[in-house]
């Protein structure tokens, strides 16, 4: 069995990516993803890979576009303001059906914001990574082990569906250390007959492109892409449920805030409140099925995030008015405490019990 090693989240992302066969990394310095690029710059040359510090986030994502077009497993990492700059390239990747992995180790925003952990890029990740009709698969790990596991999985999913995949982490997960078992390396060699590798006079020329000047053709391609998205929504939802079977109050939280929420749920149970947790691991596709499964038994939902309330929109879309959905969040880099979340659970539970009698 593989041995456990103590690693920082950012380094686990990098090592797992390399084990998934990623040999090309293009990035630009930004806090708090620093350790990831530093790790890549140290390791890539040792395995015949490429680490290139680009002149900007825009150049970096367009290098990802180029390397993906050329058939390579490729990754970039950044943090919130840098991800905004990458939006252009991510949209082009989606439009050209290129696989690639983008890491966002989130910090507070908007603007230059802060450098403390945040989850304020949920909407950006799940709704608006760039212009146009497209989706990106988004994983939200909540432990260093999951950072490794989903960075590894991301490459397979990206290649399978020919789509960009994002890992939405945050400064807390990126910088904390935990024991982790690294996935076993695999070659990452996937047939890519569409790639621009030079045709060697063996086939017609390949073109990687997102420009379609005929409206009907562009519509047809977008509709086809959405059929692929429907398959992703059906097959790739991931969520963890914790003590939800008999839960009156179901807390919904992802990533770092789910760690806090879990502690609060445990404490609530100790105090006799039937609380549970649904933790979305994929933010898109949103784990509709996991939320839907608890709607019949839950009395109310409490959505906890490190922002002003973003994922709560998706929870409400699933719950669709059948149960109350409340929100608690801290923002600007403040991490909610289990005590604060527990107080919200108890308060909500008290109101539900009163209302029920």
């Amino acid at each position: 069995m593989a041995e456990k090693v103590l690693m920082k989240g950012n380094e686990a992302l990098a090592e797992a990516a390399m084990r998934a066969g990623c040999r090309f990394f293009f990035g630009y310095p930004i806090t708090p993803q620093t350790e990831l690029a530093a790790y890549m710059s140290k390791r890539m040359p040792k395995v015949g890979g490429t680490f290139l510090q680009a002149e900007s986030e825009i150049a970096a994502i367009n290098m990802v576009y180029g390397a993906a077009a050329a058939g390579a497993r490729v990754m970039t990492s950044s943090s919130s303001p840098g991800i905004s700059l990458k939006g252009e390239g991510i949209s082009y990747m989606a439009g050209a059906d290129l696989p690639g992995v983008i890491i966002n180790v989130q910090r507070g925003g908007p603007g230059l914001g802060g450098i403390q952990p945040s989850q304020a890029d949920y909407w950006q990740a799940t709704r608006a990574l760039g212009h146009g009709d497209f989706r990106v698969v988004v994983y939200a790990p909540s432990t260093v082990q999951e950072m490794a596991d989903y960075a590894f999985t991301a490459f397979d999913v990206a290649d399978k569906y020919r789509t960009p995949v994002m890992i939405l982490a945050d400064g807390m997960l990126g910088q904390m250390m935990e024991p982790v078992v690294m996935p076993e390396p695999h070659g990452g060699s996937v047939e890519k007959p569409w790639a621009t590798t030079g045709h060697k006079h063996q086939r017609a020329h390949n073109v990687v492109n997102s420009l379609y000047l005929t409206a009907d053709e562009l519509e047809r391609l977008n509709v086809e892409r959405y059929e692929r998205y429907a398959a992703i929504e059906r097959d790739e939802q991931r969520a963890e449920t914790f003590l939800t079977e008999d839960a009156d109050i179901v807390v919904v939280a992802f990533g770092a805030s789910a760690r806090v929420a879990r502690s609060a749920v445990v404490e609530a149970r100790a105090k006799g409140v039937k609380a549970g947790l649904v933790r979305p691991i994929t933010l898109w596709p949103f784990p509709t099925d996991a939320i839907e499964a608890v709607v019949p038994t839950a009395k109310a939902f409490l959505d906890v995030e490190m922002n002003m309330g973003q994922m709560v929109d998706d929870v409400r879309l699933v719950v669709a008015g059948r149960r109350p959905v409340e929100f608690f969040g801290r923002t600007g880099g403040v991490i909610p405490t289990p005590v604060e979340v527990l107080a919200r659970i108890e308060d909500l539970n008290a109101r539900m019990t009163k209302g029920g009698e």
Binding site: A59, N62, M63, A67, A69, A70, T197, G198, H205, L211
Partner: protein, 282 residues
């Protein structure tokens, strides 16, 4: 009497697909596309080549060239080409860009690909205007040149000065070969082809970054006939953008851009550890 045998003296290059281009009549993009394709043929590299098309009039070059092609975002062709070349170091990678793409929105990508000494070839078409979007002021529009967005002529007090790309890039250590040409007459077309072929050869030999700037016309947006456009170009553009070789490290006696860079930094110990070790031994 035996009939004279027919001999083919002119045909479509293999690397140019038999399709109709979208270029306006009188525009030299078609000629330059052809020259690039002829060079790919003559160097026998079409099968290894990956071209990167820009946003602009040549945006659809991916439908014209027979080699593998990528359409890049506006200005990002050098970044895209960089990555393709890193993935396929034995491939022949070129970007085909206009003035707005290369010298305005993509200037950072241009400068940094050049200074990194990426082994790529850039074909740069400078016609002093944004063609595709209908004739706006370009980074290379001349002082007092009238365009859609400089209707009173480019006022250098307000809009600044044009950028001379070859001159600018010539100071960068990663650059191996830079030449400015035009395609206004058969003699200059032949010179342009020679430069493009040399740029590709520079890449194939791994000598560093190469760029050929082609001073071109835009009859449609300049509002002139093709012939008047060439006259205007010769009278106004060529004095501002003189033709010639702006850098050729191999002609200077160096094997590649890195050697030339090392010689230039000979007195800098950290940049030139080998020379320093030699000095220490004396």
């Amino acid at each position: 009497m035996a009939e004279k045998e027919l001999k083919t003296v002119f045909e479509r290059p293999h690397a140019l697909l038999p399709v109709v281009t979208n270029y306006c009549p009188g525009c030299t993009h078609g000629i330059i596309n052809r020259l690039v394709a002829e060079c790919l043929d003559e160097l026998d590299v079409e099968g290894d080549a990956v071209g990167v098309a820009p946003v602009g009039c040549s945006v659809m070059a991916y439908d014209f060239f027979g080699c593998d092609m990528i359409e890049a975002a506006h200005g990002r062709a050098p970044a895209v080409a960089t990555a393709v070349k890193r993935v396929h170091p034995d491939g022949v990678v070129f970007a085909y860009q206009g003035d707005g793409d290369l010298a305005s929105i993509g200037m950072a990508e241009t400068i940094h690909a050049a200074t990194r000494g990426e082994n790529i070839t850039v074909i740069f078409i400078n016609n002093a205007i944004y063609g595709m979007t209908g004739g706006q002021m370009a980074p290379t529009s001349l002082p007092n040149q009238v365009t859609q967005t400089s209707p009173y002529g480019r006022d250098t007090d307000a809009a600044g000065f044009p950028i001379r790309v070859c001159e600018l890039l010539s100071s960068l250590d990663g650059v191996a070969y830079l030449e400015r040409v035009t395609a206004d007459c058969p003699k200059n077309v032949r010179k342009a082809k020679k430069a493009i072929k040399k740029a590709f050869q520079t890449q194939i030999d791994g000598a560093g970054y190469s760029l050929v700037e082609v001073v071109a016309t835009c009859p449609t947006n300049w509002g002139m006939t093709p012939q008047d456009s060439f006259t205007w170009m010769r009278e106004n553009m060529l004095p501002y953008y003189p033709l010639g070789v702006y850098k050729d490290v191999r002609a200077e006696g160096f094997a590649n851009a890195s050697e030339a860079a090392a010689a230039r930094a000979a007195d800098c110990p950290i940049a030139n550890p080998a020379a320093q070790a030699e000095g220490g031994a004396r």
